[in-house]
Symmetry: C2
Subunit: 231 residues, 2 copies
DNA sequence: CGCGGCTTTGATGTTCATCAAGTAAAGTGG
DNA sequence: CCACTTTACTTGATGAACATCAAAGCCGCG
């Protein structure tokens, strides 16, 4: 977990337009000075379920998973979050403890702001607050949608859906390196590892996808789309 | 669907403190004059999936279901919303068309505000906007939590969970009249009607609950709790 | 090389959906 | 109010989908 807080560089931050869209210079300066920027490797926990909410976290770069462990037993993944997602947006204003863990699944840079500061800014600057509202709306929408979509499908449909999600929404190309284990895929779609593998091999045998380890290439996206919708 | 917009009576509204907490008198007057209050009976559709989002709806009294019909085929229920839930809070600022339908499951009074007005108020009054943020946070939190909870359980666990939800969260007492059909219960927990009935009879035979038609009484809440958690 | 985590395949079992059929309850029109 | 229809509820029998268990191959890493 690298530390990287040399000097206030929010002016050059690529996510500036999103986070700071509605901030005046003075606010920006203040926030920038108190922010903390950390870098995580795959598997490192960014936020732990049950810990108190004190920060407002924002993914600058990388990929994380929102997950929950049910009575210490099996883990289930709720969502894969990309840059520009406010990952703590959900619980942050309604609860005092995190209900989900957030763990990096690739090298990820996260920017932490003091929650109190964001809070007071929202209270003092309506435009900024409204920006937050829109973001929150959009993030919870995405989570609820992906969750409900996945849930109404059978295992084939679920896997087709997830493969398309990685190709279209996350990587924007048909060939990509799957950033998660088969086991995590299983946790994401609520099935067992074995069955995830079985269906992947099946898709591969049918020429719908090509697999080499974590490399996945979608050969027939239309087929996957059909399977995802019919499933 | 009754109409009930005689004069501006928001001052006496029981939900006033929640919706109008951060509004000044002038704003309140303006909003109050343009609001629409409607009454729905069981089964009446309040908001239809796919229709444009123009209003901001608030449940004053009653009970509604958020549901989605997947390619015209089977319907699935996402959430049961109580008074004080901002039912349109989720999609309202991120999308232009509703992704869910909202239907009354008991006699329900809903207050509609013009979305544009709420929007401009949020932009002009930071305290009001912040109130919205908190509400939104809390509603999406509840939905995501109930959804993830249900999903990690087997059928017995799901039914135990839902029965406890009705008893504790919705009615606040162990004996209540189930406001939904067996079929809707099934749609809510993602199972078939037949199996919902089977498990309910089973619980009844085991003396955990008593059933007479829609009347349900929870006899052994601790058992249900255990089943819900272990399931 | 050899160890441990990840992946893969096969055999078996359980859970739940589907199909079928019948009973109860709730509307509906005369 | 009663015959009639429709919708909701219930139970049983069967089958399909998926989980579990077991075992072996793979692959990166000390």
């Amino acid at each position: 977990m690298g530390f990287n807080n040399q000097y206030c560089n929010c002016n050059n931050c690529i996510v500036r337009s999103l986070v700071f869209e509605f901030m005046n210079d003075e606010m920006q300066q203040k926030v920038c000075n108190s922010k903390k920027e950390l870098s995580y490797n795959r598997g490192e926990i960014i936020i732990k379920e049950g810990s108190p909410i004190e920060d407002f976290a924002y993914i600058k770069e990388g990929l994380v998973k929102l997950h929950q462990s049910k009575n210490g037993s099996r883990d289930s993944i709720i969502y894969i979050a990309k840059p520009f997602d406010f990952i703590t947006v959900l619980t942050v204003f309604s609860e005092t403890k995190y209900k989900y863990s957030i763990t990096a699944i690739e090298k990820t840079d996260v920017c932490f702001f003091k929650l109190e500061q964001i809070r007071s800014m929202a209270l003092n600057n309506a435009a900024f607050g409204f920006g937050l509202i829109r973001k929150m709306s959009s993030v919870s929408d995405k989570i609820i949608n992906s969750y409900t979509e996945i849930n109404q499908k059978n295992i084939r449909g679920r896997i087709a859906f997830i493969l398309l999600m990685f190709a279209n929404d996350i990587y924007g190309k048909p060939k990509f390196k799957l950033p998660i284990l088969r086991k995590e895929l299983a946790q994401l779609i609520g099935m067992t590892t074995e069955n995830v593998i079985r269906i992947l091999s099946e898709f591969s045998k049918d020429g719908i996808i090509k697999i080499r380890g974590k490399e996945i290439e979608i050969i027939k996206p239309e087929w996957l789309k059909t399977i995802s919708e019919k499933g």
